[in-house]
Amino acid sequence: MVFSGLAEKLQETFRRLKGKGRLTEADVDEAMKEVKRALLGADVNFQVVKKFVQRVKERAIGQDILDSLTPGQQVIKIVRDELAALMGGTQSKINVSPKPPTLVMLVGLHGAGKTTSAAKLANTLRKTGRRPLLVAGDVYRPAAIKQLQVLGQQLDVPVFSMGDRQSPVDIARAAVEHAVGTGRDLVIIDTAGRLQIDQEMMDELAAIKAAVHPHEILLVVDAMTGQVAVNVAEAFNSRLGLDGVILTKLDGDARGGAALSMKAVTGCPVKFAGVGEKLDALEPFHPDRMADRILGM
């Protein structure tokens, strides 16, 4: 693993802290340097790291824990708890509309995993009794519609498409009508990948939102994303008002530092984690486990 050296170092630091009967402010400073290194190595956003380390330091020094019996352990606990808190409680539920159908829209950068996650979500929610309809709202990427159709076929879930000559807004509108007409109570809209600075493409998402009022707009984020993750989440959130995040590609060795800032930036939690290419590889998100992973523990 790429960061295992760092993880060892961090654990050594923590072991050292644990071993000490008494900690000085300098000990805490030293440990915080390692924590900072670990977080940046896990691609936690730079600004987030700065504030985070400051807060942990204040808590550690402010709470008289330096004079307690196991100060090292308490510092570690503060770090982990603060990390988990930053990512919010466990909340993997989708907002279900009292009046069906429930509309879910997936948005995000190119290649993040939107189309795959749409199919995974249909698969997961079908197991809870929903009757999903997948909507091919990406009219730009070559073979995007076909991709969703193949996935729908694999799951035996219907896919609504109007080809690539109609606007995604019209497609979304027609899809909702189609869902009502065919007794589908869950509509999952796939959208094309786009840059958060592409005004025209961001306008298109806002227009879909205005046309069909999704109950749930989910940002799909690649767990390997670096420092831009915060910027991206901010932009999508301020334009659309997000309800949650799906973090993908957690089946590799990504530390997933991007996850950390999502809640802080958007105010909404990571709801699901993608852990593979297969359509059953979607899991509820666990902030506490993620905290351990980010720290390399």
Binding site: M1, V2, F3, K36, R37, L40, G41, A42, D43, F46, L109, H110, G111, A112, G113, Y140, R141, P142, A143, A144, K146, Q147, L148, Q149, V150, L151, Q154, L195, Q196, I197, Q199, M202, D222, M224, T225, G226, Q227, V228, A229, N231, V232, E234, A235, S238, R239, K249, D251, G252, D253, A254, R255, G257, A258, E277
Partner: protein, 283 residues
């Protein structure tokens, strides 16, 4: 900016800029240490000179020359590899056009037989460029596709064969073995092939890209990198550490989704963009 003298604050500001560009903590710290040494050695006094000096140091690591594609064959065989969703298939479409515009006859191989509609996607790029795509069915053995494509490239007298592969996470050893097999089959049929193994990296990726480069490099002997999605706000600073540690050159960059959105990599332009503040202008 606005510094009266060269002090710790200024160095820290530069280090922060590097980290925000995904250069990574370790490389950033080393670069700043090098910068301090150079400032001393050259007797630099003006704070304004530090950025350009730092750019020079990074340029030295990345190499000022643009590294061309390896030639070989004919056909010159190019394998394109990388993790999921980074832009492999799209890059192949652009690269095909690039080779074409240099008068080369190109053939494409649909070696991603796994992902839904991956073959159809490559075929659309084939249509856009007027290039034939050699394909099997979904689920077929990628090595068999590569073998057939190489035979076809030879019999048709193609100059370049570009082979798509399925996205895979570098930590999945069975999938990396599958990739090795594709390389072995090519090498057995045409000694020296694949002449080029291009690792596609997504510029929005952070420090995990180092692990990607390391493990794809071990499995397939990567000869060059294509850094995609540089039209966004990401800078792709992680390639500095990759060049330093693994000595893999970046050969091309991707700057969009259209067929002409591929450029040979220029260290100077890349380094200049590392420090611009595009990311502040969001929607």
């Amino acid at each position: 900016s606005g510094h009266k003298s060269i002090d710790d604050d200024l160095y820290e500001e530069l280090e922060e800029a590097l980290i925000q560009a995904d250069v990574g903590m370790d490389t950033a710290v080393d670069l700043i240490a090098d910068l301090r040494r150079e400032v001393k050695a050259r007797g630099v006094r003006e704070p304004e000179q530090l950025t350009s000096l730092l750019q020079e140091l990074i340029g030295d690591i990345l190499g000022q020359e643009t590294v061309p594609l390896n030639t070989g064959g004919p056909p010159a065989v190019i394998m394109v590899v990388g993790v999921n969703g980074v832009g492999k298939t799209t890059t192949i479409g652009k690269l095909a056009r690039y080779c074409q515009s240099r008068g080369q006859r190109v053939l494409l191989a649909a070696g991603d037989t796994f992902r839904a509609a991956a073959i159809d996607q490559l075929e659309i790029w084939g249509q856009r460029t007027g290039i034939t795509v050699i394909k099997h069915r979904e689920g077929a053995d990628p090595a068999a596709v590569a073998y057939d494509a190489l035979q076809a490239a030879r019999s048709r007298g193609a100059d370049v064969l570009i082979i798509d592969t399925a996205g895979r996470l570098h930590t999945k050893s069975n999938l990396m073995e599958e990739l090795k097999k594709v390389g072995r089959v090519l090498g057995r049929e045409l000694p020296g092939a694949p002449h080029e193994v291009l690792l596609v990296l997504d510029a929005t990726t952070g420090q995990n890209a180092i692990s990607q480069a390391k493990l794809f490099g071990q499995a397939t002997g990567v000869t060059g990198i294509v850094l995609t999605k540089l039209d966004g706000t990401a800078r792709g600073g992680v390639i500095i550490g990759i060049r330093r540690e693994l000595d893999i050159p970046v050969k091309f960059i991707g700057i969009g989704e259209s067929v002409d959105d591929l450029r040979p990599f220029h260290a100077g332009e890349f380094v200049a963009a590392l420090f611009d503040r595009r990311d502040k202008e969001t929607v």
